[in-house]
């Protein structure tokens, strides 16, 4: 196969074409043009075909036209990027190729590129952008909550801000570690040259920007009142902003399914010779477990949102009790996705921190098998707990003891991860680099998140805290305190390898301490607010709670400021200072750090042969992870080309 694979690497023409000529072609520019054009065309078509249709009369917004607009826009976007070129070319009898646009130069970041390292960088920048937008929404929400009465935003604006913040965060954070870091490093860590399905890999990324933009378009379409959970039948009654939520979240469901399938196929089939299951970096195990959840849960999300879309456009009544449907159907379907989703957010974080701890403790990962068992246990159990979100709904009340038990049992495998972490630190030689600081903070934060989860899983306690700010504090401790801290650990750990540039250490430490302190100041008091009776998703609260809320808002603004420090550091370090980073700045044994910086397009000169596990720090006589220079051997779990 390898002769076909690289035939596209033809020598460049000698004379460069004029600059404007290079802008024409299948790239971001064409995609934007076709995407915007597609919206207007789709909306026009939708309006034409719904003339006189009952379901769209009596409302000021035409949902069918809105959905058609989105559909055409995304199609135009993908065509503009060139996603049809390959399938059409094959139909016309052109020869197959495995990879596209794997060249040097900045242009490859703005088009369909099948180099997994380019996709990783594309993901990183995109997710960061949307994360900042969603974070800004959080600041707007906290500004309103400075006073116990509605002041800054009206009811619709406030609810839309909450929904936008929550949905945007969950959409983007679902792939926050898999998108940038798994795409970039999983093939390298397993000794492969690419992902199993490079073109699908690119597709999974290019679905993300339209999803984010479509979700933002909800602002122009009247907002949506349901928060990130999109509960029907409220969703059935909402204005056209709801369609944006449905379409955007469904696109992310699609993207997640593709990411999961691709990661699984890659790790299952493309490991280098000698990369046995017990030598697999623990981060890759985290990715495997996350991918299993994505493949099994994300399609349920897609189906659920499609059913709401049908209720809204085709007058079906899946969720309308008055017409034979059931609101319980929605909540069950949603949380059947929703609970695995929270582990889609948590598991990559487990992988990252356990990957980082051995490097900076200079010790083997303590209890490797236990860590793998913990992740697999979480994966399995996470499909058996979803009704803990429905303890007081009146649904299956007699099953509550079962769901209480499964939910509490999930803290056993989660506890393994803590034992692994603490065991790895114990008697190590700990160096407090910035990635290490974030990884250690992860444990403190996730511990609080997990212990508060035990309150919520206990039905009598949940009766008083369900739907309150206690829940809100709980999931921010797990998602922000867990995933986002792990995300920054990964960023400081791997970005120097990806960019070849060092971060400014002082700014990074300011970022860490600001974020750690103000994160706790922001969310710890909210446990109290919740226990004292403050419900989620309200801008009107008891004036006796104003003190707590003001403290929280001010902390939240300072937390936002610490993010600004990160942004400044990122721009300063990569644009202005540009201090080159060594190829292995952390003296890590990880395979990815044995490669030169920048990592060559084809990763490895020859297929590496894995000789030992990645965490054998201090083990006398442990060979290096891989023999990189040796000729490839035939057979084994080879990853040719």
């Amino acid at each position: 196969m390898s002769d076909v694979a690289f035939e596209q690497h033809a020598p460049r023409p000698a004379a460069a074409p004029p600059w404007w000529r290079r802008l024409i072609g299948f790239n971001l520019l064409a995609a934007s043009a076709l995407g915007i054009g597609g919206w207007f065309l789709g909306h026009w078509v939708g309006t034409r075909i719904t003339i006189g249709m009952d379901s769209q009369l009596g409302t000021d917004q035409n949902d069918i036209a809105t959905f058609m607009g989105f559909l055409f826009a995304v199609s135009g976007w993908l065509i503009g990027l060139g996603f049809l070129n390959y399938p059409l070319g094959r139909m016309l009898g052109r020869p197959p190729s495995l990879r596209e646009k794997e060249e040097e130069g900045p242009g490859r970041y703005f088009r369909l590129c099948t180099d997994h390292k380019v996709v990783g960088m594309q993901y990183f920048v995109t997710i960061l952008l949307f994360f900042l937008i969603a974070g800004l929404n959080a600041m707007f929400i906290r500004a309103e909550l400075l006073t116990p009465k509605e002041k800054l935003w009206n009811a619709n604006q406030y609810l839309s801000l909450v929904g936008l913040h929550g949905t945007m965060m969950l959409m983007m954070m679902s792939a926050a570690i898999l998108g940038p870091f798994a795409n970039y490093f999983v093939p390298i860590m397993i000794g492969a040259r690419r992902m199993a399905f490079p073109r699908l890999e690119s597709l999974s990324f290019w679905l993300v920007p339209p999803a984010g933009l479509i979700l933002l378009s909800a602002v122009a379409l009247g907002g949506f009142p349901t928060g990130w959970t999109g509960y029907a039948p409220l969703a059935n009654t909402a204005r056209a902003g709801m369609d944006a939520y449905l379409f955007a979240f469904a696109l992310i469901g699609l993207s997640m399914t593709i990411v999961g399938a691709n990661m699984l196929a890659t790790v299952l089939t493309m490991r280098a010779p000698g990369m046995t299951w017990t030598r697999l970096p623990i981060f890759v195990w985290g990715v495997i477990c996350t991918s299993v959840l994505m493949v099994l849960a994300a399609p349920v999300l897609f189906a659920t949102l499609s059913m709401v879309a049908l209720d809204r456009t085709a007058d079906t009544s899946f969720f309308l009790a008055s017409a034979g449907g059931s609101p319980f159907l929605y909540t069950n379907l949603f949380w059947f996705f929703g609970h695995p989703e929270v582990y889609i957010l948590a598991l990559p974080g487990f992988g990252v921190v356990l990957e980082i701890l051995p490097v900076f403790s200079r010790k083997p990962l303590w209890g490797y098998r236990l860590a793998v068992a913990g992740m697999l246990g979480v994966t399995l159990l996470s499909f058996m707990v979803w009704q803990h979100h429905l303890f007081v709904s009146g649904m299956n009340a007699d099953l509550r003891p079962f769901y209480m038990l499964t939910t509490e049992l999930i803290s056993v495998p989660t506890g393994f991860i803590f034992l692994n972490g603490l065991g790895t630190l114990w008697r190590g030689r700990i160096r407090f680099t910035v990635p290490m600081l974030f990884a250690m903070a992860f444990f403190s934060n996730f511990l609080i998140g997990g212990l508060s989860g035990v309150f919520l899983s206990d039905v009598p306690s949940d009766v008083s805290t369900h739907g309150s700010y206690f829940v809100m504090a709980h999931f921010h401790y797990t998602i922000m305190g867990g995933l986002v801290f792990a995300l920054f650990a990964a960023t400081y750990y791997w970005l120097p390898k990806m960019t070849g540039l060092r971060f400014n250490e002082t700014l990074a430490k300011i970022h860490f301490w600001g974020m750690f302190v103000f994160f706790n100041f922001t969310f710890a008091p909210l446990f109290v607010a919740g226990m004292l009776g403050m419900p989620r998703r309200v801008s009107v609260y008891s004036s006796s709670l104003q003190g707590i809320n003001d403290f929280v808002s001010v902390s939240a603004f300072l937390l936002g400021l610490s993010m600004l420090v990160f942004l400044i550091n990122l721009v300063y370090s990569t644009v202005f200072a540009r201090v080159p980073a060594e190829a292995n700045p952390w003296h890590s044994r990880g395979l990815e750090f044995q490669l030169p910086t920048p990592i060559p397009v084809r990763n490895f000169e020859r297929t590496p042969v894995i000789e030992s596990g990645p965490y054998e720090y201090g083990v006398p006589g442990a060979p290096p992870v891989a023999a990189l220079g040796r000729p490839a051997v035939a057979g084994g779990g080879g990853s040719s080309p």
């Binding site: 009596g58 409302t59 509605e150 009811a155 619709n156 609810l159 009654t237 909402a238 204005r239 309308l320 008055s322 059931s326 609101p327 319980f328 403790s361 200079r362 010790k363 083997p364 209890g367 490797y368 236990l370 007081v392 709904s393 009146g394 649904m395 009340a397 003891p401 038990l405 509490e408 049992l409 056993v412 603490l422 630190l425 114990w426 008697r427 190590g428 030689r429 700990i430 407090f432 403190s444 511990l447 212990l451 309150f455 206990d458 039905v459 009598p460 306690s461 949940d462 009766v463 008083s464 369900h466 739907g467 226990m531 009776g533 989620r536 998703r537 309200v538 008891s542 720090y617 201090g618």
Partner: protein, 289 residues
């Protein structure tokens, strides 16, 4: 690599562990005592009803259990940070331990025992004296209170964006305020006319989702007269945040006269109401204009 670079006082496990355990036991004892005796009496959702008191007791129990766990992990973290910190630029390897079979097994056994006993305690509370601990249990709950008096049935109806209440034992009269007698078990039948809501009276220890087409029963026995705040706890649209009101717990005598006044005052309205039912289907939902 380690041998020649390691400083003289190479850390060995035993004294560390003994020292840690002693500190942990002392701190945990102080922490648990503080949680139970200082925080406990103020722990929400207080003791206004039997259900609230049950929830409060569980909260105290969970907080008391969480304290030693929190302390154990924090202390192990902080201790490692202090004792095993490597200063300077030299890269020195730690002790290459790959795991500890006995510790792993002990950890699994202990954590499993803790969470299973928690689940047992929670289940016992569900089927214990308060029958459902104040949560919504659906149309025909397994756990039903038995007392000398049958539960007083009160229907709670949620709609965008207000609560109303019907008393089937008093001709199905519908009121805009809820009043219930103290010392008697009340069966709240919660339902909705449009979208999902959730009836939450924190002092009363009750939370039950109001779902269209469903009858969600929660039992509560208020212990003394007083008032309680009701808030909607499920996002139900624009004015969700304004869907709050105040309810009353009255002495049995005061309740009798209150309900009699309601029946008289609302007599005309009651005749126009649909007959009492576990749920109602008004006009189908429409898209907001």
């Amino acid at each position: 690599m380690t041998s020649n670079l390691a400083p003289a006082a190479a850390p060995s496990g035993e004294p560390h562990i003994r020292r840690l355990i002693v500190i942990w036991v002392v701190l945990s004892a102080i922490g648990v005592a503080l949680v139970v005796f200082a925080l406990g009496p103020h722990m929400p959702p207080w003791t206004f009803s039997d259900e609230a008191r049950d929830q409060r007791n569980i909260n105290i129990m969970l907080a008391a259990l969480a304290t030693p766990v929190l302390l154990a992990v924090w202390m192990a973290l902080v201790y490692s940070i202090v004792a095993f910190r490597q200063r300077g630029v030299a890269i020195v390897d730690g002790t290459p331990i790959h795991g500890g079979g006995r510790l792993e097994v002990a950890w699994i056994v202990v954590t499993t025992l803790i969470v299973v006993s928690l689940a047992v305690a929670g289940t016992a509370a569900l089927f214990g004296t308060t029958k459902g601990a104040g949560g919504g249990q659906g149309p025909d709950p397994l756990a039903v209170p038995h007392g000398s008096l049958p539960p007083l049935q009160v229907q709670v109806i949620g709609q965008q964006w207000a609560w109303t209440f019907r008393y089937p034992a008093f001709g199905g009269v519908e009121t805009t305020q809820i009043a219930i007698p103290a010392g008697r078990v009340i069966a709240l039948h919660v339902t909705s006319l449009d979208v999902n809501h959730s009836f939450w009276a924190i002092r009363l220890g009750v939370k039950a989702d109001a779902i269209p087409g469903s009858d969600n029963v929660a039992f509560v026995r208020p212990r003394r007269p007083g008032s309680f705040r009701i808030r909607c706890a499920e996002l139900c649209g624009l004015w969700h945040g304004h869907m709050f009101t105040t309810g009353l717990v009255l002495t049995p005598a005061a309740f009798s006269s209150w309900i009699r006044r309601q029946v008289v005052a609302n007599a005309a309205a009651t005749r126009t109401l649909p007959p009492y039912s576990t749920h109602y289907f008004p006009e189908p939902l429409r898209r907001a204009g």
